[in-house]
Amino acid sequence: MKRTEPTTNAVPLLETRNLKKYFKVREGMLHAVDDVNISIPVKKTLGVVGESGCGKSTLGRTILRLLDATEGRILFKGEDILKYKHRKMQEMRKKMQIIFQDPYSSINPRMSVAEIIAEFMLVHRTHRGKMATFQRAAELMDTVGLARRYAGVYPHELDGGRRQRIGIARALSLDPEFIVCDEPVSALDVSIQAQILNLLMDIQEDRGLTYMFITHDLSVVKHISDEIVVMYLGQCVEHASSDELFANPMHPYTKALLSAIPEPDISMRNKEIKIIKGEITSPINPRPGCRFAARCEYAMDICREKTPPLLHQPVSSGKETERHLVACHLFRKGQGKDTL
């Protein structure tokens, strides 16, 4: 397979190859993640956007091996972590962490803030003795902007923004290299959301972290990501750098998604909104063909027969370091390169 690597980093920190995750349900197989190829360069942020049910969270969890992949490979610095046995994977988990959407249901309500942050360090025995561990927990509280006086309080006493800060401190406690952020700001108010986004970006700069940022909010994803993957029904339909995707969206679904965002600008009030009809269809036993075809205004006969491959397209900015991949029969010609 001929491969085109981004020129900046030879080996991406994380890569998936033909990754699949199917769930067995009564009616057959649910294709939650279906043949996804992504790669995230070191110290970059990959945004994954899509509507509920498109498989974006399942993708994040499968990459962390919180769910067992059905097929495919997950490469961390070039090594296939799906081949790792229990002991080795446990070591690996220190390097890969996750921040969840709902900071309340993802932390133990019967533990104090300091205990929650220290828990992983105690499990992995990263520090000698409890004193050192809790000292480190206190430092992490400083990092995420939690006053140390909250060390002894319980999560229910705190608001959503502070709880999310606990989640972030805990994810940082093992000095990871890669963090999956699964809708970390969706449950928060706008003013708090901005605080947490800034915090995540600061930490990334300070520690050289690599993020996979899962969200349904396109303005957030544009703000934080270097590259963006748009998912639809378990498949990646478009993959481009953040500026490129917003400047030159190609896939009809991406276009509809972008035009659906209500903008805080009254001059856009009479903007023609591309409304796509219908809703996401069932991912159970999908038929071959493009999964968006049923809702797509440009659907042709071929769309209902053949699944479109993800192909390289010319980048509108003309920069060689950037790339733009689209899975749509409208853009078959492209540059004819292999996927990713």
């Binding site: 509507e51 509920s52 608001d159 923004g161 108010d189 706008v190 003013s191 708090i192 959301q193 901005a194 605080q195 986004l197 800034n198 970006m201 349904h216 396109l218 303005s219 957030v220 544009k222 703000h223 500026d243 917003f246 509809a256 998604l257 035009s259 659906a260 965002i261 209500p262 903008e263 805080p264 600008d265 009254i266 856009m268 009030r269 909104i273 409304i275 796509i276 809703e279 996401i280």
Partner: protein
């Protein structure tokens, strides 16, 4: 002012329990004309939903208390009406769409029964069951659901479809005022776009006045004629959509709110959020409620709550506007 459909004057609402008192809504005043869409914006705990529930007279009986003010709806004082009369207004003349369509439908009633229920209860012109059934088909078509699905139950519908059913219920009696409390927060963007454009079309066709409660400044920009920004139970800024989105004069909180949303058009490396958190509604600050978080705080802000300053249709409650050109102090 008589041409107002609903006019709320100096309304204050508290939630009282044995332990503490939550000052949820503090002295707010606004009004709507017929056919107008009014946006009520603010973050969690700003008092938006409490305001809506007060208009509907649906505050929790044990704890919720209206401590002052009045609500005039179509020439009647809502707060003085006996419950029996209120019941005839609720659902018929004022109806409400709730945030979560999953929990605002009855799971053991078919969609047809649920929509028909409101019409049977408010059956003034003695519609026959036949008429009502016809009307159910009509409203379902209006919100874009094929009437063939009317015998289905809520669990057979997706989130966006459920929200359409809720909207169909709210519009069944052709109310004069529709209160939409975060009608699209639980929905995906593409579905949100469908629902918003549908609400807009229906509003234009039926001439319904609407109070749109949301935290999303984008939705307000796309739908509302007039906007009020709420913070800690108060309206801190109010005006036409042009005043809020185009004027350069703002309450510092409104400025902070706009600084907190990532911009789609330009690339900024960092957002400029508002530091700190909303004040504890059981112990509001003595002066301006926003003063503990305000980057432009002055000495007077801690001591004295600000007056309201007016410039045309634009109202701002902030000490910064004392003596500023074009801004006049409103008499209380």
């Amino acid at each position: 002012m008589t041409d107002h459909l609903i006019s709320i004057q100096n309304l204050s609402v508290e939630y009282r329990s044995d332990i503490e008192t939550v000052y949820a809504v503090n002295n707010i005043t606004f009004s709507l004309k017929k056919g107008e869409t009014f946006g009520l914006v603010g973050e969690t705990g700003a008092g938006k939903t409490t305001t809506a529930l007060t208009i509907m007279r649906l505050l929790p009986e044990q704890t919720g208390r209206i401590t002052g003010g009045s609500i005039d709806f179509d020439g009647r004082s809502l707060l003085d009406l006996p419950e029996s009369e209120m019941r005839s207004i609720r659902g018929e003349q004022i109806s409400m769409i709730f945030q979560d369509p999953m929990t605002s439908l009855n799971p053991v009633m078919s969609v047809e029964e649920q929509i028909a229920e409101a019409m049977e209860l408010h059956n003034r012109d003695n519609k026959t069951p036949e008429d009502i059934r016809k009307r159910v088909d009509e409203v379902l078509l209006m919100v874009g659901i094929p009437p063939s699905r009317k015998h289905d139950y809520p669990h057979q519908f997706s989130g966006g479809m459920k929200q359409r059913v809720v909207i169909a219920m709210a519009l069944a009696c052709e109310p004069q005022l529709l209160i939409a409390d975060e009608p699209t927060t639980a929905l995906d963007v593409t579905i949100q776009a469908q629902v918003i454009s549908m609400i807009r079309k229906l509003r234009d066709r039926l001439g319904t006045a609407m109070i749109m409660i949301t935290h999303d400044l984008g939705i307000v920009a796309q739908t509302c004629d007039n906007v009020a920004v709420m913070y800690a139970g108060e309206i801190i800024e109010m005006g036409t959509a042009e005043d809020i989105y185009l004027s350069s004069d703002h309450h510092p909180y409104t400025t902070g709110l706009f600084g907190s949303i990532p911009n789609l058009r330009s690339k900024t490396s960092r957002l400029t959020p508002i530091a700190g958190l909303m004040p504890d509604p059981t112990h509001l600050p003595e002066g301006c409620n926003f003063s503990p978080r305000c980057p432009l705080k002055m000495e007077i802000c801690d001591r004295q709550p600000p007056c309201i300053y007016r410039n045309g249709t634009h109202l701002i409650s902030c000490h910064l506007f004392e003596g500023r050109e074009n801004w006049r102090k409103e008499e209380a």
